[in-house]
């Protein structure tokens, strides 16, 4: 475990923030306060955070429809996110994006993406920019198990290999693409094996285990920053909830879901590891939990009160000039 106490606290803070944020989003959605489609990340926190702990604001990530976790892991402001998801004028994207299009370019977050397979080509472009500018930054794309079949993703990987770009492809295998099992949709039943055939180092890790993800990503980032080209990582961790908030989840059994939420919780696993190894104390973690709860509470409170955008905002922000 080559990671110091401050970093462990930061990792836990981010994972817990994702969880708390999403639990609140779920509740607010159920209450009718959040419009549109919302896809929750709970259960997969170790993937986003294990990956993004290695990244600075200069590094870029491209995300999916299930983007809250990636945003928070990348350091995007939670309050602005909440306002955006509530559709408010002072949200991160002025209320024009919403959950599926949250972006924060200053943080290197190139956007959630409501098109499955949308982000990998974009991340390859960002990696190209880094290489051309002679920077040592990297670009990361997140794709689901379902999305791993999309043609755009394969094209992006090939291009990254051809140009030897500092791009890292994360495949988040959470068991399902909507209501379809990954073993059905991925003909080879081996996402990362198929990826390896594209000619880049590719590893599968336990996506519930922050440390496993963190280690694999560390290697991929070192490789990319030093000109060693692209890599891929498959993180395996089931989502706790449905595809979207409101999904009746008939394709899962109650037992399987309960088992998952009980045995596969990345936060519990993290807490156990760091307290067992006496790296952090339960008290430290509890204190963070409280802090985060307050932050999320305040964000939701202020979001609910913030004004909506109005007619004057409808036609702005389409072009820089027109």
């Amino acid at each position: 475990m080559q990671i110091n106490r401050d970093e462990l606290l930061k990792a836990y803070r981010r994972m817990r923030t994702i969880r708390a944020f999403e639990e609140r989003v779920f509740a607010e959605f159920e209450r009718g306060n959040i419009p549109g489609f919302v896809h929750l990340y709970s259960g997969q926190e170790a993937s986003a955070v294990g990956v993004c702990m290695h990244l600075t604001d200069a590094d870029k990530i491209g995300s999916t429809h299930r983007g809250h976790g990636h945003c928070i892991a990348k350091g995007v402001d939670v309050r602005s996110m909440m306002h955006e998801i509530f559709g408010r004028k002072d949200g991160l994207c002025g209320g024009k994006g919403g959950s599926m299009h949250i972006a924060d370019l200053e943080k290197g977050m190139l956007g959630a993406n409501a098109i499955v397979g949308g982000a990998p080509p974009l991340a390859v472009g960002a990696a190209l920019a880094a290489k051309l500018k002679g920077e040592d930054s990297v670009a990361v794309s997140f794709t689901g198990d379902g999305g791993s079949n999309q043609g755009t993703v394969f094209e992006a990987m090939n291009l990254a290999v051809v140009l030897q770009l500092p791009a890292i492809f994360i495949f988040e295998n959470n068991g399902f693409g909507e209501a379809t099992g990954h073993d059905y949709a991925v003909g080879s039943r081996d996402i990362i094996g198929r990826v390896a055939g594209f000619g880049m180092p590719a590893t599968r890790v336990d996506g519930r285990d922050f440390f496993a993800v963190h280690d694999a990503m560390g290697e991929a980032v070192r490789r990319a920053r030093s000109g060693g080209g692209p890599s891929a990582i498959e993180t395996v961790a089931k989502r706790f909830g449905g595809h979207y908030v409101g999904d009746p989840m008939r394709y899962r059994t109650a037992e399987e879901r309960e088992r998952t939420m009980r045995d596969d919780d990345p936060l519990i696993m993290f807490r156990r590891k760091v307290t067992d190894a006496q790296l952090l104390t339960p008290g430290q973690l509890d204190a963070l939990d409280g802090e985060i709860a307050a932050l999320v509470e305040a964000s939701a409170q202020s979001a609910a009160q913030a004004p909506f955008p109005g007619a004057a905002d409808l036609e702005t922000d389409v072009y820089v000039t027109y």
Binding site: P35, G36, F37, G87, R88, K89, C93, G95, K96, G97, G98, M100, H101, N113, A114, I115, V116, G117, G146, G147, N149, Q150, G151, T152, F176, G177, E178, A179, T180, G181, H182, D183, Y184, A185, V186, G187, M249, R250, Y251, R252, T253, E256, F308, P309, G310, A311, D313, L314, E315, V318
Partner: protein
């Protein structure tokens, strides 16, 4: 006749045609759902439940869940059609056409012409269109003008459960590639729908309100709103004729021209940004072929030239509303 929702009407059309013709099959992401999962089969029945129950009757060989690979889905649909099946593909949100458009517009739509009239490609592509779900820029478009533009495609946009059933049956029986666009805000709309199968021919407009002062042309959800505007304006003494052409390609221009000949005025309502829209298309055809009847400028009521916004406050301003339609009608009548 029984009251049925648009969703039920569509489901019934699919079921009846699948019973009638063993060559009809359904392809798409989660058209059944539950493949490779521990839970139930038929867990989704399509993203918004239109195909629910069909896998139970027809099995997974005819209701086929697909990986998230729209080019493969559309291409396989076209290939299966060329090879003698009559597939119905579900593209889910029409916004996804961007990842598979080649298979639609360069392949399926062009086979017949490029192959000198020898190809028959009987396929239906169902897709959900439209705003109102607060789904943002990549899940709220209609995109019907992009399909209407393409020679070789037929484009259907039903506005009632009755039409939805009859037009979908026609689409399945039709020998050409058909894009069938379902407004996602209309699935729960109720209406009278006969239990037996019936087909509504393409290219025949429905005059849903008769009137003498102004002609309004509108499709899908906008047809409903145009009817509401007409009802509203009747109280103001304005007599509005509402035409729902039901298919944008072929388009029943004759009915529109006949109406404009009587009214002298035209408003076209289109849930789409304005440029190269269906509103523009119809306005231009009338400005060419019905010019002498026109007593006033042709007005269009469309979305602005912007992507679809997420926030409810913006989306409500974005989509043509009954108020905006009524205002345009008042304006054109005052000339």
């Amino acid at each position: 006749m029984t009251q049925k929702s648009m969703r039920q009407a569509l489901n019934e059309a699919l079921r009846q045609e699948m019973r009638r013709d063993p060559r009809v099959l359904i392809l798409g992401e989660d058209v059944a759902g539950g493949a490779g999962c521990e839970g139930e089969e038929d867990a989704y029945g399509g993203a918004l439940g239109v195909t629910r129950g069909l896998v139970g009757e027809f099995g997974r060989t005819r209701v086929i869940d697909m990986p998230i690979t729209e080019s493969a889905i559309m291409g396989a649909t076209a290939g299966a059609a060329l090879a003698g099946l009559r597939p119905v593909a579900d593209l889910m949100f029409v916004d996804f056409l961007g990842v598979c458009f080649d298979q639609i517009f360069n392949q399926a739509a062009k086979f017949r012409y490029m192959f000198g009239g020898k190809a028959v490609t009987p396929m239906v592509m169902r897709a959900m269109i439209g705003g109102g779900f607060r789904a943002g820029g990549q899940h709220s478009q209609t995109l019907h003008p992009m399909f209407t533009m393409v020679p070789g495609l037929k484009v259907v946009m039903p506005s009632t459960p009755y039409d939805a059933k009859g037009l979908l049956i026609q689409a399945i029986r039709d020998d050409d590639p058909v894009i069938f666009l379902e407004h996602k805000a209309m699935y729960d709309l109720m209406g009278e729908v006969p239990d037996e199968a019936y087909a509504i021919p393409f290219g025949e407009a429905n005059v849903t309100r008769e009137g003498t002062d102004v002609t309004v042309v509108a499709f899908s959800l906008m047809a409903a709103r145009a009817n509401d505007a007409a009802d509203l304006l009747r109280k103001e003494g304005i007599s509005v004729e509402v035409i729902d052409p039901r298919t944008t390609s072929p388009l029943d221009l004759d009915t529109i021209l006949d109406s404009v000949e009587n009214t002298g005025r035209l408003v076209v309502v289109d849930e789409s940004p304005p440029r190269c829209s269906l509103a523009a298309d119809i306005a231009a055809q009338v400005a060419e072929h019905g010019f002498s009847h026109l007593k006033a400028p042709i007005l269009s009521v469309t979305c602005p030239h912007t992507p679809s916004p997420f926030s409810p406050s913006l989306e409500d301003l974005y989509m043509p509303s009954v108020d905006r339609i009524a205002a345009a009608i008042r304006k054109v009548v005052s000339r």
